[in-house]
């Protein structure tokens, strides 16, 4: 499909000339310089203290069994997020029973988001050393009904914790590794009626710390989707087909000189 999109885009006349200006518009404000490249090695313990993670970055954290670990990451319109978590469990000699681990994803309004697929919760038998979890979210729409909890552009929270364990296994050292990725779904989920501002908590007062709250190249504008390309390309092709059809039936009539 990307090839098709490129082809469709290539059809647009004058695109190359205006590309630099266009890119600047599409990307919005330029990314903040000096964003730390190092992956976070700590996790937050509540929504407020969630550690921001960039997409594709592998965050790690040392913790105790029973801690609630929070990370946050940005998802933009048209992206379908997948979060993966790997837990290095305490030595099996010091564990007493099977424990169940779980990841939950919340949006910027702290509403729990369902997983389309992935292993959201899994038991860790006493003898296993690691555990892998994953959750694929629904594609992010630009806007949604007030009454729905469809995913919207903004901050997303990931919570990793053990939900079921033997009491005597609490407090043992574990190491967690999480990563959030996003796949572009194109304009398939571009709906009308975009939010004026992404669902970033505290956006009114801009209280959040500057680092890592938004996508690296800024939030995409509310107007952009590849539907523009499809529609414009369709119009162009329709026009070309019209000319072809015209030439077909008009035929030799054209050759007659106007005397």
């Amino acid at each position: 499909m990307p090839a098709v999109r490129v082809l469709a885009a290539a059809l647009l006349t004058g695109a190359a000339l205006l590309a630099p200006a266009g890119a600047a518009l599409a990307a919005g404000p330029s990314p903040k310089p000096g964003g730390s490249a190092a992956a976070p090695t700590e996790a937050g313990t509540a929504f407020r203290t969630a550690t921001p993670v960039k997409l594709g970055q592998e965050a790690t954290a040392d913790a105790s069994t029973g801690d609630y670990l929070y990370w946050s990451f940005p998802l933009d319109a048209g992206q379908r997020g997948t979060v993966r978590a790997k837990v290095a469990l305490p030595p099996s000699a010091s564990r007493h029973a099977t424990s169940t681990w779980r990841i939950d994803v919340y949006d910027g309004l702290r509403r729990r988001q369902p997983c389309m697929y992935g292993v959201q919760a899994a038991p860790a038998p006493k003898e296993s050393a690691t555990l892998a979890l994953s959750c694929t979210l629904r594609p992010v729409r630009t806007g949604a009904d007030t009454w729905s909890d469809d995913p919207l552009p903004g901050t997303y929270y990931l919570r990793l914790t053990v939900v079921d364990l033997a009491q005597e296994d609490l407090g043992q050292p574990v190491r967690a590794q999480v990563q959030a990725d996003a796949k572009d779904t194109g304009g398939a989920y571009a709906v009308d009626g975009a939010l004026a501002a992404p669902l970033v908590p505290g956006i009114t007062a801009a209280r959040q710390t500057a680092a890592g709250t938004g996508p690296e190249d800024g939030w995409s504008g509310p107007w952009w989707s590849d539907r523009w390309i499809w529609t414009a390309a369709g119009g162009l092709l329709g026009g070309l087909a019209g000319i072809a059809g015209y030439r077909l039936t008009r035929g030799s009539g054209r050759t007659a000189p106007r005397a």
Partner: protein, 424 residues
């Protein structure tokens, strides 16, 4: 992403005129979160049982001392650190005296590493384990100002000073709304110690760690001190009312409150036409609760008509349950003058369906965190698809076919017209 940008660029070239004034909102921020330096107090158990030599062949006390030295070396500069001991001075058998035995070893303030280390070196395992009084003392040490506060409690045994339950002490301290978190570390803990420490940590939103090895202790304490230094937004205390009429009026911000089992709390927010109200609430389960629970956040008009609600339910072990809602207030086109810009008062109701076993105390209530944002309203949706635009091969097919048919017909008509003209 490259393709996407390229495509975006191409479209912009064509549609540059359309793209006026629709730039995305930036999410950067500048406001400092907490101006005061964070305060941390390390509370160390120096009771007789700390003599036991079961941490990597060392006594618990020497392991703790060594860990403290490492931690003191690594304390971030901005942290105001203090050290308090419990059971350090009275070796006797008198319960009343033993249970008051807690003192500030090093006052909370700018850290002088060598002084603090010298003070720690003097400690020797001695007396009782008065955890409750030590926590009260520590909360007192950290008093004043608006800093974030953290107590790190390191102990090897349960509180021996009933009836003052340290877990309830912790919850009462947390309920004072002073942003205080208590993290607990148990040195080779037994079941009763563990339960008590877990309860203390849970009551204040802290963490519990069971320590079996020396390096675990220093690593964890250092992590907790660093955590205290991390900037965090502190909520403003609010007190919701029993009904909307008497509810406090809140603006955009972060608020904290307490709500007990089955209680409803009301708040009011003014929303101007063209604004969008975003509210989210989380309710922390800071004590042992029954297995199934839920929370609801409802926005209604002052007359009681429900506008929108957010609700969530869950089961099993959890730290909190949260939900949120959005309410874009429509712009009134036909209203005149004042009515057009007059804000609407929206009532927000927070209710919960937590329950607890009869043995669990219900007061103070569970911590509520309420976030309120007011932003510009979303663009009005006039179609399911963005701007009513199309997408996909079917669209292209239809357009090509339509173009072709139109071309054919047009060609045929012009051919017919030429032939008519020729004949004439």
């Amino acid at each position: 992403m490259i393709t996407r940008k390229w495509v975006a660029a191409g479209a912009c070239g064509l549609l540059a005129t359309l793209a006026v004034g629709l730039l995305p909102t930036t999410a950067s921020a500048g406001e400092p979160v907490s101006k005061e330096p964070p305060k941390v107090e390390l509370v160390l158990d120096v009771s007789g049982s700390m003599r036991a030599t079961d941490i990597d062949g060392q006594s618990r006390m020497s392991a703790a001392k060594q860990a403290f030295n490492e931690v003191l070396d690594a304390v971030p500069g901005e942290v105001r650190l203090g050290i308090r001991t419990l059971g350090a001075t009275y070796p006797g058998d008198d319960r009343n005296v033993g249970c008051k035995d807690t003192k500030a070893l090093y006052p909370v303030g700018p850290l002088n590493r060598s002084e603090a280390k010298t003070a720690v070196a003097t400690l020797a395992p001695t007396g009782w384990t008065p955890i409750g009084p030590a926590l009260l003392g520590a909360a007192d040490d950290l008093k004043g100002g608006d800093a974030t506060r953290r107590i790190v409690l390191i102990t090897d045994g349960e509180d021996t000073c009933a009836p003052l339950d340290p877990c309830e002490v912790a919850r009462d301290i947390a309920a004072q709304g002073i942003h205080l978190t208590i993290d607990t570390l148990g040195l080779v803990p037994d079941a009763k110690t563990r339960d008590q420490l877990v309860c203390i940590a849970e009551a204040t939103g802290g963490t519990y760690t069971s320590v079996q090895h020396k390096d675990e202790l220093s690593g964890r304490v250092r992590q907790l001190v660093d955590r205290a230094a991390a900037p965090v937004v502190t909520p403003v205390a609010a007190q919701g009312a029993k009904e909307c009429q008497s509810a406090p009026k809140l603006g955009a911000g972060l608020y904290s409150d307490r709500e007990t089992f089955g209680e409803h709390r009301w708040y009011k927010v003014d929303v101007k036409p063209g604004q969008e109200l975003r509210a989210s609430v989380s309710l922390a389960a800071d004590r042992a609760v029954n297995n199934d629970y839920g929370v609801m956040l409802r926005a209604s008009t002052v007359h009681g008509r429900e506008i929108v609600r957010g609700s969530e339910a869950g089961d099993g072990r959890t730290d909190l349950i949260s939900t949120g809602l959005r309410y874009p207030k429509a712009v009134l086109d036909d209203a005149d003058g004042d009515a057009e810009t007059a804000p609407e008062t929206v009532c927000l109701q927070v209710s919960n369906s937590f329950s607890a076993p009869a043995s669990v105390k219900t007061t103070p209530g569970m911590p509520v965190e309420l976030t309120i944002d007011l932003v510009d309203g979303p663009a009005h949706a006039s179609d399911a698809a963005a701007f009513g635009l199309g997408r996909g091969w079917w669209l292209l097919g239809v357009l090509v076919l339509t173009g072709l048919v139109a071309g054919l017909v047009w060609g045929w008509i012009s051919r017919w017209r030429i032939s008519v003209w020729r004949t004439n």
